[in-house]
Each structure stands twice: as C-alpha cells, then as structure tokens.
Subunit: 340 residues, 2 copies
C-alpha cells in the first residue's frame, strides 16, 4: 500500500502534470510548500511509486509522469471536490436562464458551454425517448405520390419522414388514415408504437382498408424507420490545442472516429448511470487510447434520457471536469423535469 507521503508526492506529480504537460522532477516537488523533504528523499519515494506503477519515466533521466494506473488512483481516491469559479457558474446559469423551449437548443448550448469552459471536446447524446409519448401525427401530401408524415412527441420533439403514397390511396383515404392513427396512437409511448401498430392498428386497418398490405407497409416506413439518436458535439478543434495531440496522425484517427456517429453514440449509450471515467487504454476504441472520456447521464424522473461527455487527453483536469459534468447533468435533468 502507499504511504501518506507517497500519496502526497503522487498528488503533486499529477496536479502539476495536468497543468504543465511536462515531466516533474524531484527538485520541483521538493520546492512545493507542503513538502518539507529534500529532493533526495522525494527521489526515493518516486522510485517506490514507479515500482508500483503509479508513475513513469519518459526516459532514463527524465522527471516522472503519471501512468494510467496513477490517474485511476487519483480519480478513485485523491481527487478533491473542485470549487467552480463564480465566472464559470454564471456562464452555466446563463445558458439555462434565457427563455428556451426547444430540447435541441438546450442540448446544443450545453455542448457549447462544456467545450468552452474546458477546452476539451464535448459530446452529448440526445435523449432516448422512453417515456415520451406521441402527441400528434400529421400527414401532409406533397404531390400525388409523395407525402410527409410529422410526429410530435410530448416533449415537443418533432420528427418528419417522407414517403411514397401507394397509388391506390386517395387524399381522402389519407385523411381517414390520419384520424385512425391519432385515435389509436396518441398518448402511446414512442417505443411502444411498433407493438401497437402491429397489434390494434393492424386490426383496425384490415377492416377499413381495401388494400391493407400496401397501406401497412408504407406506414411502417413512415413511423418505424430507425430514428437515429442524435449526437451533439462541440469544440472538436480544442483537441488540437493539447500538446499531446500535436501529431497529425493521432488527430486524424481521432477525428475519423468522431465522425462515426453510431460508434460514438454506442459508446455513450453503454456508459453506466452517473459519472464514469475511462482513462486511456480503458477506452474501447483504439483511436482513444491516448484520451480520457468522462461521461455523465441526465434523466427525466427515473428514466435515463441521455449522456453528456467530455473527451480530452489522459492528462485531464479530472476534478474540474467531473464537477462541471455533475452540475450540467443536474441542470439538464432539472430543466426536463420542469417541462413535465
């Protein structure tokens, strides 16, 4: 186990390295106020810390750098709760203060504020609308053979899909159809739409429609098409500000992975409830082996809605970032609760 003094040294190394991105030497540590020991003593402690894998050398005669195990220890045991500056707090509050109604805007602004305050890249996974219900369906025909279906959910989310209208259908048929659908489906949770459609509505339609098969299949197209979960990112260029990403190839592989929305979405979706920290190799994706990803979930009532995350170098301001994500995820949760 680590002695009190070793922990103290480790803390200084990590804190310092997070600030400077430079290896820390024994002399520098000894100069710190809380450290009443000589460089030689520190060197002994550092040798021990290195042996147990909490710090590393970049070469034989360099100062020490935290290892991933070191960061992990820091995050799990050492991290002191961060006190956000007043300025940061007002920035956050202002984001939510202004009259804002649309879900997407709130999320977008949150992403912006996160990346602005941290200089890392923010990623927000839009809500998976489990609890939300269908508010209304509209079908508006555009030409003789095309129309657009508009779904509005109880949270005010609007989705629209274009589809081909079967040639056997008249516009009066469409109207009747919309009535049936609204009759049967309004108030139904979005995720149960499919089930309902296969069941009740299918029954209903069979009785009513002369051409059940086509009607039914186009309905499936319009209502059930896989709705992509939306991903909001901001501050992608921030990554390039970090000295550890001055290498084009690293940047490129990172950007390439970030462009793959489904992989990113999957990553955020499978992060557990609450705040999670993935350091370096702990990340699944190869391109992120030099990064840390901190995720936090926001929710509505009991239901987990989505995830907000920050992506930066393993040398991350963990305590500040965790605090920020905490504040923001709570703020988001509150906002959505207040709509309900």
């Amino acid at each position: 186990m680590l002695t009190e003094r070793q922990i103290q040294v480790l803390q200084v190394i990590i804190d310092e390295f997070i600030q400077t991105a430079q290896p820390i030497g024994s002399r520098a540590i000894a100069k710190k106020e809380d450290i009443p020991y000589s460089p030689a003593t520190i060197r002994n402690e550092m040798a021990d810390l290195e042996e147990s894998g909490f710090i590393e050398k970049t070469h034989t005669s360099s100062g020490r750098v935290p290892s991933e195990k070191g960061y992990r220890f820091y995050v799990d045991h050492l991290m002191s709760p961060f006190r956000l500056s007043n300025q940061d707090m007002t920035t956050i509050h202002q984001t939510f203060e202004r009259e804002m109604l649309e879900f997407e805007r709130v999320v977008q602004k949150s992403a912006r504020v996160l990346s602005d305050l941290t200089n890392y890249t923010s990623i927000i996974l839009g809500p998976q609308v489990f609890e939300t219900t269908l508010k209304q369906i509209q079908i508006i025909s555009l030409t003789d053979y095309t129309a657009v279906a508009i779904l509005v959910t109880s949270t005010g989310h609007v989705e629209h899909r274009h589809f081909n209208v079967p040639s056997t259908m008249q516009s009066s048929d469409l109207e009747k159809l919309v009535n049936i659908l609204n009759d049967r489906l309004v108030g139904v949770p979005i995720i149960k739409l499919q089930q309902k459609l296969y069941g009740e509505v299918a029954q209903m339609l069979k009785r009513y429609s002369s051409d059940f098969e086509t009607t039914y299949s186009f309905l499936k197209d319009a209502l059930l098409e896989q709705q992509p979960v939306k991903l909001y990112m901001d501050g992608k260029t921030n990554i390039m500000l970090q000295p550890e990403f001055h290498d084009i190839h690293k940047i490129q592989s990172l950007y390439t992975i970030m462009e793959k929305e489904d992989e990113m979405a999957h990553l955020l979706r499978t992060s557990g409830k609450g705040i999670k920290v993935s350091i370096g190799q702990e990340n699944q994706l190869d391109a992120m082996q030099d990064c840390s990803l901190i995720t936090a979930t926001y929710s509505l009532g009991e239901e987990q809605l989505g995830t907000i995350a920050l992506l930066g170098p393993t040398r991350m301001e963990y305590s500040r970032v965790v605090t920020l994500l905490n504040v923001l995820s709570k703020r988001l949760t509150n906002t959505f609760d207040s709509w309900h």
Copy 2:
C-alpha cells in the same frame, strides 16, 4: 505572351505537381514523351516562365512549382475536359438512383459522394427556398404555455419552432388562429410570408383577436425567426491527408473557420452562378489562403437554389473536380426539377 513550348512545359509542371506535390526539375520534364528537348532547353523555358510569374522555386536550386498565377492560367486556358472513369460515374448514379424523397438526404449523400471521390472536403449550401411556397401550417400545443408550430413547404421541407403561448390564449383560440393562417398563407412563397403577415393577416387578426399585440408578436416569433441556411459538409478529415496540411496550425485555423457556419454559408452564397474557382489568395478568408475552393450552383427552374463546393489544397485536381461538380450540380438540378 507564352510560346507554345512554354505552355507545354507549364502544363507538364502543373500536371505533375498536382500528382506528386514535389517540385519538378528540368530533367524530369525532358523525360516526358511529348517533350523532345534537352533539360538545358527546358531550363531556359522555365527561366522565362518564372520571370513571367507562372512558376516558382522553393529555393535557389530546387525544381519548379506552379504559382497561383500558373494555376489560374491552367484553369482558364489549359485545363482539358476530364473523362470520369466508369466507376466514378456509377458511384454518382447510384447515389441518385435509389428511391429518395427527402431533400436533405439527397444533399447529404451528394456531399458524401463528392468527398469520397475526391479526397477533398465537400461543402453544400442547402437551398434558399425562393420559389417554394407554404404548404401547410400546424400548431400543436404541448403544455398550457408552450406550443410547437410546424411549417411544411411545397418542396417537402419541414420546419418547426417552439414558442410561448400568451396566457390569454385558449387552445380553441389557437385552433381558430391556425385556420386563419392556413386560409391566408397557404400557397404564399416563403419569402413573402413576412410581408403578408404584416399586411393582410394583421388586418384579419385585429378584427378577430381581443389581444392583438401579443398574438401578433408571438406569431412573428414562430413564423419569421431567421431560418438558418443549412450547410452540409463531408470529408473534413480528408484535408489532413494532403501533404501541404501536415502542419497543425494550418489545419486548426481551417477547421476553426469551417466550424463557423455563417461565414461558410456567406462564402458559398456569394459565389456567382455556374462554376467558379478561387485559388489561394483569391479567397477572402485568411485561413483559406493555401486552399482552392471550387463552387457550382444548382437550381430549380430559373431560380438558383444553392451551392455545392469542394475545398482542397491549391494543388488540386482542377479538371477532375470541375467535371465532378458539373455532373453533380446538373444531377441535383434534375432531381429537384423532377419534383416540381
């Protein structure tokens, strides 16, 4: 003026440099089939070409590199029409072939195909809907004090806005309001909405509504809010593949400018009709001084709808890119015409 032989040399230099990104020496040029002269002769011609500013040296004893003036001459006079490979053509056709209804998808796919085929970054400015008319307005109330307005245009574009409902309004009032709006505004070109709203509809409302002022102001919010022109980009990482962009700082300033949607939109919007080529310093934006931007417009009928563009290094495959943009802008124009 340039002699026939000088033009020949210039052509080789540009063609070669576009491929290799390396300065071209007299020996390399003399080896070309079409060139029956010795390196010494070529050197004389090169000296002349340099004097007139069409080519440059990177240092005293290096081969020559095209100058921006050289590229400009190439684009204006030398460029031979490019024959797209069958593979490229089928890739393009497949993009449009599949049953596709939604405007956004078509544009997105176009952006993807452009960046895939060129390894440059594609930028498409969504349509400015001059001619399109309002198809239908829906207002759906979400809570007692919020509602969402949905506008559908004749091209099938769907916009929605959230807004606060004045507390004096009942849901029955909303319904009546929607009826009035549809009555008066359906079929009106989108750009004339504002005018109509200020005129006729205002009259109508004054007569009908007890609380004209609030109703009117919330309508303005819902209908006239500046709708952002949408910008679709693809292949942003492609820029990093180019050897001239191995410098982080260039990349960063380029990415930063690309994130400013309004500036990019303005840039594309003010590009003239047809195909335009901006080489290096000809570009307005500082961050693009090492790039070339090729733009092409697509339209519906006489009305110019939007712009598609490719952003790459000044050392660009001009002739291929121009051909591609030509094909694609025509394809887009056709597609939209067929909807009309």
